[in-house]
């Protein structure tokens, strides 16, 4: 693998080489490498671009890496990845996309991921997005994540975009059956004229289902972010959305957390706060010997960690 591909894999998936276990690496719209394990099968879709990842019931402590790298300008990559996770599993799924574009033509990756999560299964899903290369053309990423959660399942999603992406439209839709738990942690940093849109829709349809959405975003320069969440409680359920934004310069963050209780036993909470870095926090770190600039950097990196 070339240096740029390795760098993108490292930054999006923490990989230094071909990963252990099952993986599918997609580069510039084509399959670069694939490996299945006894319990995890990866097959190409017959009708469209993408893969089915089939995880056998009772698969425990295994991981699947499905990174995507784009190193060409002018590529508009669209891919459908469907995960079928059997009952009683405990797995780690690492996705993510990195675009390195030095050309003068825009590149984009649109990953449509659907998760079917079996009963009593536990999934941790990490998705990192990054754009690298010169500023001649745009690097755009539009991930869509659909999560269908069966009884007693849990899904923890970490979605991270730390710079370099000109435009991102992130859509996440989930439906939770009884006793299912969904935890979403989102971290987004935008600079310059970048735009990042986020939309979460979570339907809590089963009793004792639970969702926790935490979004930390930092918008600098003239960048723009919009956070929209819609939590719908149709059963005895609990939903909590916390959206915190830090703005600086001429940046704009719009936050619209919506909650809709459609059952008398639904309990839904949303909290949203946007503002610049607090003076007290900067002063505290300056009393430890940091300059104002270093203090701000430290606060932001902690906020996005």
């Amino acid at each position: 693998m070339d240096k740029i591909t390795l760098e993108l894999l490292e930054k999006t998936s923490g990989l230094h080489d071909i990963p252990q276990g099952a993986y599918n690496i997609r580069k510039d719209g084509k399959l670069l490498a694939r490996n299945c394990s006894t319990e995890i099968e990866i097959v190409s879709k017959p009708d469209k671009d993408g893969i089915n990842i089939i995880i056998a019931p009772h698969t425990k402590n295994q991981s699947v890496h499905i990174p995507v790298v784009v190193t060409q300008g002018g590529l508009n990559d669209l891919v459908y990845n469907d995960f079928y996770i059997g009952d009683d599993c405990d797995v780690l799924i690492v996705a993510g996309c990195g675009i390195h574009n030095d050309s003068d033509q825009n590149s984009s990756h649109n990953g449509i991921h659907t998760f079917h999560i079996g009963k009593n299964s536990k999934v941790k899903y990490i998705e990192k997005h990054i754009g690298l290369g010169s500023n001649l053309a745009e690097k755009n990423l539009n991930p869509t994540t659909k999560i269908l959660m069966n009884e007693n399942s849990s899904f923890e999603m970490e979605t991270v975009q730390l710079g370099g992406v000109n435009y991102a439209d992130r859509r996440t839709d989930a439906t939770l059956k009884a006793n299912a738990t969904l935890i979403i942690n989102e971290k987004i940093l935008t600079t310059e004229q970048q735009k990042a849109l986020t939309n979460f829709t979570v339907k809590l349809v089963g009793d004792n289902s639970k969702v926790e959405v935490t979004s930390h975003s930092v918008a600098k320069n003239q960048s723009f972010q919009a956070f929209n969440s819609n939590i719908i409680g149709k059963a005895k359920c609990f939903g909590h959305v916390e959206c915190d934004g830090i703005i600086s310069d001429q940046a704009i963050i719009n936050s619209t957390p919506k909650i809709s209780a459609q059952d008398v036993n639904a309990m839904l909470v949303h909290e949203a706060a946007i503002g610049k870095i607090s003076e007290d926090q900067i002063i505290k770190l300056m009393t430890l010997g940091l300059t104002q600039e270093q203090a701000e950097q430290q606060i932001i990196s902690g906020f996005l960690s």
Binding site: Q281, I283, M286, T287, L288, G289, G302, F303
Partner: protein
Amino acid sequence: MGIIQPTSGKILFNGEDITALSITERARKGIAFGFQQPVTFKGLKVKDLLKIILNQVFECNECCTYLAKVGLCAKDYMDRPLDNKLSGGELKRIEIATVLARKAKLNIFDEPEAGIDLWSFDNLVNIFQQQSATNIIISHQHKIIAIADTVILLNNSKIERIGTPNEIMKLINTNKHCEKLGGAN
């Protein structure tokens, strides 16, 4: 500490005029400051603050020492975010630990007794007595005033008297302006 610039006068630190120095410059000269109301963060952890203080030379044993001094177990606290999920008392003890970790020449504590009601007050007094650094402590607590070498009594932002703890406590007990002192506040 340089948070508010003085309108007149001079501040000398070891003979050097530091009046015009910023917070950062004063900190780097060897002055540490403990806030009355510890500042909370979103995401920054206890270990992140200690890392800044110890200049990235991160020795877990060293961190343990400072946290143990304020009655906290490092194992339980190093990875805790410095946010409102910690109680006021825990935040205050961590604040004091971060001042001690700085190993500064001069420590300034702004009402260190505030908010540590759950923790043995005597431990706090012991910490001040064990320090080899100079401590300036802003306090309303007579037990803390009693361990000072020199007490400066302020009234409406003006120095009313400078003396030994005995002299000042006598004055406090007889002066109605000082009724806030002695633990009533």
